[in-house]
């Protein structure tokens, strides 16, 4: 009743091929964008930016990146944390070496550098699959963390091994460093996440994405119908690395401001992003957002309820939070193994027929 496509006619191929062919979907998408760009920046404060929106947007970019590799191309990766570290250290070196160049150049450049590194670590995927590949990417994770700890050049020989983001601006608006306004942090992340989602969505709808999915579903069959597995796998690694690198660069420069590789980009990060992708839904851009929102918002929400609202001791709340979020993850995966994106899809199907289900 609310959600229906009758009377919604496409008269050109372009209309038929657009991302959201149903009018209702399209307007909802415009409404979300309008709220994100025109409403939230005016009401956001430091807490909401730093605890909720900025981590959510940055993790969404990382989840999109991993989703391309794991969800679309079927290559399991446990190296996300290390790859984010590449983005973070790349942007740090660029920021400090070329202070006059805009961050809008540095962040994509950091993404490109990460894409190169990730492609290098993707080379074993031509020979090995599944768990074996997962272990190879796990090795990448540990190697990269070790490297950034070991070689002082990466952290500009600082005594503590910490990297900290100097103040940089885009068209006069400060976007890194402690004097950044909450809305500026939010906007820079929002711009990158919007572009990343647009690019990812259109790549996965086109021939590149179809090749990835062919490899994911059955690599031998894909090869027989003319998909070059080397190109398909390596492009997936490169594109995924590009997005993860951007996420790592923003994570360090905009969100944290100072980072230490072992703590900020450890194996926990790899698992966190992998959970986001699995809970959100493999092979879905919307799922990347849903998973990132779930994993970022739930702990903050539970903490505010337990400690803020109910006044429970903080240690009890912290332990309960593990139990509740762990339990919810298991419940979700049992009830809906295809993640939140599939729930959303089902809800749409139901709404289309409602109130006459037959």
């Amino acid at each position: 009743m609310f959600y229906r496509e009758s009377g919604d006619f496409s008269t050109t191929y372009a209309e038929d091929n657009q991302t959201f062919p149903i009018k209702f979907d399209r307007y909802r998408y415009y409404a979300v964008l309008a709220v994100a760009f025109l409403v939230i920046p005016f009401i956001i404060n430091d807490y909401w930016a730093n605890a909720v929106f900025v981590p959510f947007l940055i993790y969404a970019i990382a989840a999109i990146g991993l989703n391309i590799l794991t969800g679309y191309c079927g290559q399991v990766s446990l190296g996300t944390g290390g790859f984010m570290a590449v983005g973070a250290y790349a942007v740090y070196k660029l920021m400090t070496a070329f202070p006059e160049v805009s961050m809008l150049v540095h962040v994509p450049l950091a993404g490109l550098i990460t894409a190169g590194v990730v492609t290098l670590f993707g080379l074993p995927s031509l020979r090995i699959k599944g768990f074996y590949l997962a272990v190879a990417t796990l090795a990448a994770q540990f190697f990269l963390v070790w490297l950034f700890n070991k070689v002082p050049w990466f952290y500009n020989y600082s005594a503590s091994g910490q990297i900290s983001a100097p103040e940089r601006d885009v068209i006069g608006i400060i976007i890194t460093g402690p004097n950044t306004e909450a809305w500026a942090k939010y906007m820079i992340c929002l711009i990158f996440v919007t572009l990343a989602a647009l690019i990812a969505r259109n790549l996965t709808r086109g021939s590149v994405g179809r090749k990835w999915m062919a490899i994911r579903d059955m690599d031998i069959a894909a090869e027989i119908i003319g998909v070059n597995p080397m190109m398909a796998k390596l492009t997936a690694f490169a594109v995924s690395g590009f997005f993860i690198g951007i996420a790592g660069a923003l994570f360090f420069s905009v969100y944290l401001g100072a980072a230490e590789v072992g703590e900020s980009f450890g194996i926990d990060k790899s698992f966190l992003v992998l959970f986001m992708v699995i809970i959100g839904g493999l092979g879905s851009i919307f799922g990347s957002f849903a998973g990132a929102a779930f994993m970022v918002l739930l702990p903050v929400f539970l903490k505010n309820v337990f400690v803020g609202l109910l006044g429970w001791p903080t240690d009890l709340a912290a332990h309960l939070q593990f139990i509740v979020s762990g339990g919810l993850i298991i419940v979700f995966l049992i009830l809906e193994p295809h993640g939140l994106a599939q729930l959303w899809r089902l809800a749409k199907e139901k709404l289309r027929l409602w109130p006459f289900p037959h």
Binding site: D46, Y47, N50, A51, V52, P55, N149, S158, A159, S160, G161, Q162, S164, P166, E167, G177, P178, N179, L256, G257, A258, A259, E260, G262, E263, S264, G266, A293, L297, L298, V300, F301, K303, N304, V305, V307, G308, L309, P313, T314, D315, A317, A318, H319
Partner: protein
Amino acid sequence: MKLTTLAATALMAASPAMADLVFPDLSYRTGPYAANGIPFSDGYQDYFTLLNERDGGIGGVPTKVIECETGYNTEKGVECYEATKGEGALVYQPLSTGITYQLIPKVTADGIPMHTMGYGRTSAKNGEVFSNVFNYPANYWDGASHAVNHIMSQGDIAGKKIALVYHNSAYGKEPIRTLEELAKKHGFELMLVPVDHPGQEQKSQWLQIRQQKPDNVIMYGWGVMNQVAIQEAANIRYPMENFIGIWWSGSENDVLPAGDRANGYKALTFHNLGDDYPLYDDLRKYVVDAGKAAGAGDQLGTALYNRGMYAAMLAAEAAKTAQEISGEKDLTPALMRDGMEALEMTEAKMAAIGLPGFGPEFKVSCQNHGGNGLGAVAQWDAEAKSWSLITGYEGSDQDVIQALVDEDSAAFAAEAGIEAGCK
């Protein structure tokens, strides 16, 4: 979106009136560092509870502690900072070097002071550059110098091999530069043995120590890493009297798991140990017996409980100083900062509080946010299950340290574009 609106209402319900003196406690009672985080936080909170119950607060204004669990994790630490700073927080004490590095630029921009007692960024001692960060009464580099001085007091150090077993993070890496300088000056050989977070597995590190046989081991560890290191040292029969930890590797929780084999282990400290002080009578009477103790209330008199209490006492004294110099009872973070910069701890003050001879005397100034850097060595007696001081409070090698402080703070000032000078 529903989640976020709910979180918003939860947050608003949590905001209290702004009349109290707010001391946020970024604690960690979960995770691999909880064994050390719990006693510190208990001591910190109990002291403020005592002030409220006995004196009605500081200068008649009640204090309020807002606890926020960080799990020693920098992201959660930032979230805690953002969540509490709007509630009139007077001073932050994150008890984590990683979180300190995150917060140094933020507190400076927001004008809130931060006290990193015996941890954090050592060069914050230079108050001309780090206007809002204080690390009195001693810092990591003082600790490194104390450890070396103690080794020197026991015999010629030249030609000896000294291993540094350290937490492979900003915290553990802090003393390396100082130790390298000291190695050059005194002619000993420094061997670096990093341990990655959380440090539950150290077999290979201690195998390395067993093979290379360093004459002394200095440890910069925290959390579960301490217990494991001391047990591993006992396993390879490393002589405990040659094993010396920084003050963060010297709590009861670190040595007890190794039992008798930890006997003779040494650790540095910059305040006194035990519960033989008049203040403890009041603590028991007003806080513990009244059922108002933080946590389980079973940590009284432990090394880290004392340190948390000492941190709270210094914060309360700084607040008193701020009230005296400004004439205002209700403090703002800016007034608190001025109070911290004018803080002077004397023996008479400590005796009046009920902690005679508990810590060193020092005076904070704009040029020196770090105190005098005095420290003593304590040794563990496994049979009596107690620490006892085996040296008096001694100074550190300021020739080496001050040069490094100047160099590092100048580098920070250049990087962050800060004009050094007193306001």
